[in-house]
Amino acid sequence: MAEPYIDTRALQKTSAEIVVLALLEQRSRHGYELAKLIESRTDGKLEFHVASLYPMLYRLEAKGWVEGRWIERAGERRKRFYRITSRGRKILALQRQSWRDFFEALDRVAQIRPA
């Protein structure tokens, strides 16, 4: 019997935005930090290429969900920090709810419980 196979790429794509928003919910971060966090917290399972991180940040910024701002710290190069906007928070809440609903439905039918 073949090993069960799940194509996670589609999931990754739709979940990428919620991940970024969630990471920015606690505090503002710059791009490199975000990339590192995603890599470490998902054990590399959510393989999140830097090349798609920046276009996504710009897209979220264009939508008004996050806000980028250059911040200079003493002795460091200036970095662009992103923080979540109030609109972004609402979207995050909505997305969380719909993911929850989705998993509950999935659980009722296929006994898949989110970790």
Partner: protein, 885 residues
Amino acid sequence: MPDWKKYVREKLPALQVKPTREAEIIEELANQLDLAYREAIAGGRSESEAHRIAEAQLPDWRRLARDIEIAQPPRHRSSARIWQGIPADLRHAFRVLRKSPVFTAVALATLALGIGGCAAIFSLVEAVLLRPIDYRDPNRLVMVWEKDAQNGFHKNVVAMADYLDWKARNHVFADMSPIHDRIWNVTGQGEPVMAEGIEVNDRFLPLLGTEPSLGRAFNPDETRAGGPAVALLSHRLWVNRFGARPDAIGKTVLLDDRPYTIIGILPANFPWLGRPLDVLTPLQLADRNWRVEAGRFLRVIARLKPGVSLAQAQNEMSGIARQLEVEYPDFNKGWGVEIVSLAEHFAAGSATALWVLMGAVGLVLLIACSNMANLMLTRAVIREREMALRSALGATSARLVRLHLIESAVLALIGGTLGCAMAYAAVRAIQLYGPEDIARLQSAGLNLQVALFALAVSAFTGILFGLAPAIAARRLDLASALREGGRGVGSSLRSERLRGVFVVAQVAFAFMLLAGAGLLIQSLNRLTSVSSGFDPHHVLTGRIMVSGNPGDEQLSAMCREMIDRLRALPGVENAGFITWLPFSGPGAGTDFAVVGRPPYGPGQAPETDVRVVQPGYFETMHIPLLRGRFFTRADDRPDGPRLYVVNEALAREMFNRQDPLHHSLTVEMDDSKPGRIIGVVGDAKQVSLDAEVRPMVYYVQSQLPVSFGTFVMRTKGRPELMASAMEAAIQNVKKGQPVSDVRTMDDWIARSTARMRFQTALLAGFALIAVVLALIGVYGVMAYSVAQRTHEIGVRMALGAGHGYMQYWIALRGMRLAAGGLALGLIAAALTTRVLDSLLYGITPLDPTTFALTALLLAMACLLASYIPARRVTTLDPLAALRSE
């Protein structure tokens, strides 16, 4: 440490975003690589390993650039893509235009005519009709007239008594001022001159919202009877007579030999209905019984109260007029009030003509555009191969459309600039030679509004005539265009049909203009062939205004002496004198009655014009005597029996078949003393050639003294050469007497038709341009069609068609287009010529002769335009034609 910014800049393809945004993105990506590199170094990797790790972060730069671009909001996107390559396209357009000088010259001339004509007429329309009047809140200003609709008097001058009652009773006007026109002899310092002036009340300047630039306006005390003699002078008079010295205030100026203290100077650009105005004096109102002692002689200007509409004002004033009709039936029966906005008053008479001309230049512009479209389309077909090649080399169809539009825009802008230069010259010419009585015409010029208008017109034309070939370029079938070796038959058939449509439209537009011009030319012919009732040729006129009110006898004696001096001049046949010379402006009129007939009810009395003459006037003007006799010197006595000469219209209206010489009249001028009719003279036109002659009573001068009038003098030679002799003869009798308006009677009549000649000349000019452009269009299409069909013609001739038949075959194609244009034009003209109705004289807007002549003329011209290319067939060698590919 590697320079990551430089690295990113090198790797990342150019982004279509604004440069500042692009710099930020580069910096952010460089940061990413930099941090990754540093981390690798800190983790103990070698520099080259660390470099590789950093590089691996962003492997696909093209995709990254694309993703970033898509993610950018519109405000960050740069417009660079749209503008890219425009300089090259511009250079290309100039090169192409230089390479075909004939095409460029024809195109530019066409455009300059179209745009220039439009800009010129628009600058007139802007100055005369559109520009707001220079008064404060001009929309609230109105002229208030009396009207007697029953007798056909509209916008009639106002009686002082009525003005005073209106002022006392109305609730709709914030301010009102009477205006009394005066002509002054200005003497004392400098040359004696005649100056136009008005008498007004103290509210006049505040009402307009104007203040004197120097000194002060009138105060209420100065407008009472017996008030001080004070005057405001125009800026021009102040500069000419007082050298613009500020100490002129407080000095005196002699007006009709009476000293007036100068209290103020009007602003340099003081606009008074667009005409020169030199003297402003207070109208000093004595407490008189105005209804008994005076007639209607004022103009009245008023400012509406805030929130009161013109209709409300008209409503209330009509009510007041009805009250006055009841209270004073003798004077007011039948008289109402007519309120006209000042803007309408300004534009009176010229609005229709100017809008018609604007429409006409619009048509010329459309013809110019379609001609241009035709030219461009023809070129587009010729250049189909070039376009196909460009397309094959990767130019998008948008790029090709842009190329066409840029070429058209370059042409339109150069043509527009030429057109502006032409418009400037045309406006100057119109101001110098056009009619003098159009208010504000002189203020027309190429101002910002006109320039913007010309620019808009140029852009519009550019897009309009660039669009046709541009659309054709979009439809380009690449393979067939390249395969057909430049002949492009498929698309040329399509564009030939389009060109046919343009030619039909051009002929139709030209027909409309030609028909309109034809109607105006015929009107002008009819008008100028109307007899004035006198012989205006070889007559010189000169106006005087006698200062200081000499006694009746004295005034008349002085005029007689002046006439004698004029008659004594060598080359002078006769001389006379009349108040209110025909064709020189409005005159006097009043009620009258035939003695012995039952009295008329209030407002029922017939009206007559009144003129005062010196014996010799009728003889000088060659006004024929129909019955009785002319005045003689013996009649010219104030104490003698009252005598009248009447015109034929009065005799006909009042006496029918009876002999007027047995009757007497009472005429309500200074008195109503009955006077005997001693003669009946022919009708002479007074106001204009197209006006009906009204009844007329002539007085002999000493029986109704008026202190101004015009000498008329019939000469053997050219009258204008006698001008200085006339002035000298008059000044011989009264030293320093100014003589104004020294001009020929022909000139006066010409002035009265000046507007009509002006609009006719302009419309005829536009029609001519339109016809020429349309013929260029027909010729161009036919010539091109012959060139394109050389092969087909060769085949037909090889199969036996003779030269004559081929000429007929080709000319027929041209005539088919022309016929379509003529039919369309006929319908369009029939629908539109009615706008000319008020400009026509003695002809209907649908005059069949004019329409038939227009059609014939245009058909012949089109035949010629299509015959010339058809003739080329005779020079065609059938074998060569067959070979042509």
